[in-house]
Each structure stands twice: as C-alpha cells, then as structure tokens.
Symmetry: C2
Subunit: 308 residues, 2 copies
C-alpha cells in the first residue's frame, strides 16, 4: 500500500524528539505538511493553522495532534469533520466528555481516531503484563518522581488549569498500570499537592483498589532532584517484580528478565497505521478517567510556591 499522507499540528519538543524520527523511519507514513503557531519542519510546507493547512493541501489523509491538550478538541473536530484520521498525543484531551464526543464523530465519519499512550509501548510492558497474569499479586506500588525543571522547563501550559501538572507524567504510569493489571482498578483516596502560585498539582498520592481488594498505591512527584524514578513494583507470589525506567526494564527478585532498546513512538505509528488500515479506532479513556477521578475525589493540600 502507498504510505498514508500525514500532517502534524503543534510542532514542539515532543514532535522534534519523538514524532519526526518515528515518522521518517516508517514506510507507512509520509509527512507532507505541518501547522503550528511557531514551529516548522525543514523542507515540509508549513502553515499557521489547521484550517489553512487542510485547505491548501487537500491530499492530507491523517493528522497527528501534538499541541497542549487544552487546544486539541477544536483541531481534532476540524480534522475528523474533513474526513481525516486523527492521532492524539497523550493526554487525548482536556476533558473526558470532549474525547467521547470526538470518538462519536470519528465513528460517524468512518475514520480512525487513535488516543495514544506511548508508555504502553515501552519495551518491557508486555512482558510485565504476562508475568502479572501468571501469578497472584499481593500489592502494587508506583513511584513516578522526576524533576520538572529538567523535563518541562518553562512549559507554562502544564501549570495552567487543565494542564494536569504532575499528572502529565503520572498519566504515563496510569496508562501502564491499567494495561498490565489483570482487573480494572478504581481510586479510593487521593491527596493532591498544589503549589500556592499554580493551578495544577506538583505532587499526588493515590490509593486504588480492584474488586478483589488488591491495593495499588501511586506516588507522583515533580520535585525529585538527583535520581529519577519511573518504577512500578509488584509484590507477587512469584517474587517481587520491578518494571523500571518507565517500562523499559523488567526484573523479578532483582534479576533482569527483559531489557530491550526503547522504541515507543515507532510502535505508536505502527499501531496508528494498523487501525487506519483496519478501519477501526483505538480510544481507551481509563488513564484519563483515573486522573479526573483524582481531581474529583482528592483532597487538596497547598505547598510552597513553584518558580521555574
């Protein structure tokens, strides 16, 4: 099959770091246009808005939306209405309801919508899922602690209401946890720490359970300096499982059983191509639902102001 003609909207850090190399290496896609207020890609026709881009380049078949979540619905609606397949960066939107609305629109237009969760494609995630399905889980502890100044320098949108704060990385952990555990979980308690000068939390402590009473604790913190942690630890009847480095490495009782090179974004585009060719969509809202639940159920605590 000829490659799918793709456009990117919102050319920022994640596009340069991840999308462009993945697309360049994938014979299923050909990047033919971009739309962005500031960013451009060398050698690719660039537009200021998605409307202008779609009008000028009618051959576009699919669009990757990579702007901040607060601005994603409108662009997705324009693209789906024009009959284009849509790839949504995570999180897929600013609200659950708007993504549900997009899913209905994609179905009505007969095009594919992909709510992507890149961490689910980390190298050792599938091996962790299989291990957890094979044994009895006693408890799960998620530690997702990183230095926001290093990873999100001066990204103002992330601190605004709807920018999700520490849930921006934390939702990656939730996308893995909801994929590898054998049963659905739900939040039973949460504390969210807001810097007194910000509209989004800098830390969160979440307690989940599943229907069998399995306890899952998740700690997200953006104030971590020194060693960074993106670890999921499960105590099981078959030993202690550690899925570390954001899903890259799996060890059981200290022995590494799975470690492969990272290729999350190539896998995402492979999946996008798969659903486009199958004529289906892939929209799992479980990770964003847990975040919304945490904001609804969680206690708010105020902590020191944060300055970049």
């Amino acid at each position: 099959m000829p490659p799918t003609k793709l456009a990117i909207v919102g050319v920022g850090k994640i596009v340069r770091d991840q999308h462009l190399p993945a697309i360049a290496a994938d014979p299923d896609f050909e990047l033919i246009a971009t739309a962005s207020r500031h960013g451009t890609v060398d050698g690719i026709p660039a537009f200021k808005s998605i409307e202008e881009m779609l009008e000028s380049v009618p051959g576009i078949e699919a669009v990757s939306l990579c702007m901040p979540p607060q601005y994603r619905y409108q662009a997705a609606h324009v693209a789906l209405s024009a009959g284009k397949h849509v790839f949504l960066e995570k999180p897929p939107g600013a609200t659950l309801s708007e993504v549900q609305d997009l899913a209905r629109l994609a179905e009505a237009k007969g095009v594919s919508l992909f709510a992507s969760w890149h961490s689910r494609y980390a190298p050792a995630v599938e091996a962790a899922r299989q291990f957890l399905a094979s044994t009895q889980i006693e408890s799960v502890h998620v530690n997702w602690k990183e230095d926001v100044r290093h990873w999100h320098p001066n990204q103002e949108w992330i601190w605004q209401a709807g920018g999700l704060g520490v849930f921006d990385p934390g939702i990656n952990a939730l996308s893995i946890v909801t994929h590898v555990l054998p049963r659905a979980i739900f939040l039973t308690g949460a504390t969210l720490e807001f810097p007194e000068n910000r509209d989004a939390p800098i830390a969160a402590d979440l307690v989940f359970a599943d229907s069998t009473g399995l306890g899952v604790r998740a700690e997200f913190d953006w104030r971590q300096t020194g060693k960074q942690s993106w670890d999921i630890v499960a105590k099981t009847a078959a030993g202690e499982m550690v899925l570390s480095e954001g899903g890259a490495k799996l060890s059981i009782d200290g022995k590494i059983v799975h470690e492969e090179p990272e290729r999350e974004y190539p896998s995402l585009y492979h999946r996008f191509s798969e659903i486009v060719r199958a004529g289906t969509s892939d929209v799992d809202l479980a990770p964003l639902t847990h975040v919304a639940d945490a904001f609804m159920l969680g206690r708010r605590k105020f902590v020191d102001a944060f300055y970049d």
Copy 2:
C-alpha cells in the same frame, strides 16, 4: 408478577422524604429489610450492615443504596456479588471508575444496575426535551442557586473530598441538561470556589459547548438566601424556554405550557421495576463525567470560610 422484595441501605433524610413514600405506593416493590448505622423504618427488620442483612434475610431480591457516595461502592459490590439488583441514589459513586466496575459486575452476574438521576423524572423535563428538539437553540443558561444551610444542614460528608459540595445539587441540573439537549456537550472552562476551610466547592461557574458551538453556561451557588433558583433558560428560534423549579414547570416566552404535580421518586421506582423485569441496566455516567471534568479542568478560587 409478585412484587420485588426490596431492602434499603442508608436510612437518612432522602429515604424518609422520598424513597419510603414512593415504595409504599408502588405495587411492584415490597420493603422487607433495612441496613443503616443509625436509621430504622417502623415495622421493618433493621440491621447494622448490609452483610448482616443479606445473610439474615435471604429473600431480598433488590437493594436501594442511599448512603453518601463515598461509601457506596463496597455495598454495591456486596449486593451485586450476591445476585441482587441495585438502585443507586445519585451520584452513583465517588468516582467514575468504580461505577464502571459495578456496571461490569452487574452484567457478569446477570442482574440490573440502576444509576438513578431523579431530576430527569421531574414533570416538565420530557416536554422541554421535545421542545428543544423541535427548534434551533441559540444559548442555554443554567441557574442552580440554593441555600445550603436550609437544604443540607450539618451534612458534614457533603463538604469532604469526594462529597462534591455544590455539585451535589448541581449534578441534578447536569442530569437534566444532558437529557434535554439534542447533542452531547463538553466543558471548555470552569471556576470552582472553595471555602478556605472546606474540601468541596460552594460555587461553580461552568462553560460548555457542543460540537456545533452552542454555548451552555451553568452557575451553581450554595450561598443563595431568599429566592431559590433551579432554572434552565434556553434562547431559541421559537422563543425563550424556561424550565424552572428543578424541572417542574415549563414556560415559553413567559407562558406556562407544562405544569404537573411532582412525582420524581415514584417514576424512579417505576423505571427500576421496568429494568429489573426486562433484565437490563440503566447506567448513564454523563452527569458525573461533567463533574469530574470540572474538577480536572476547573480553576480553583478560595473564598470565605463556611460554617453551618
């Protein structure tokens, strides 16, 4: 058919005011037990816990759960696991995920789950839905303003995290709006006002849109003294529609076109009987999804401390 043998869990104000009269007047139900930490119903066997009640009265076929939402999942899980039909007071749970989990369990056990929204059964709601379907809507404004000291005196749980605060009445408005509008809406902006000594909001200002750009504004406030407002006003091509008194009365351009006696809870039990006999469930999470979205997307503002 013989009446369904029913039990109530959580005997408080709403049970005495609404559930008991509705059940007493409905030949489809027979109340045969209650479980509650404090409340009892004259002449009905009373237990302290749902577990004790189900063990002592094996004939129970259905259970109405009326305790605060923070405690509802566990009881619902016990009841569904025991093969009982479950009626959930609004809101159906403390999180979206736990209600989704209950819906899966009900399906697996082949019993009915009813996430009830009593305001949808207010007398003029259906007439409003039909009117709005017949015309072009220009804008919608929801005013849901009441005096919390009058309606929720000393209800501490309502102010705790997960108790929803002003969304406890506000979700009634959302349950009507999501039912009467012709298309799904989604939140685009929100401000939530928290008393500085409470974990739940006392006021909320919400802005929604639908896919055609229709604007829907909702203002919830618990500090209203004097005249109370539970009104939904729609400007339309066929005139100004006012659905007032919580859905009881409908007027077009100031002329009352629909006004009947209130019978929300009798209608809820009629619906519950209908789904039990049809072997289906009725779980629409749209109102609670909007509330979770508002907590996730909304800006928090701090206002004067609130004392009962």
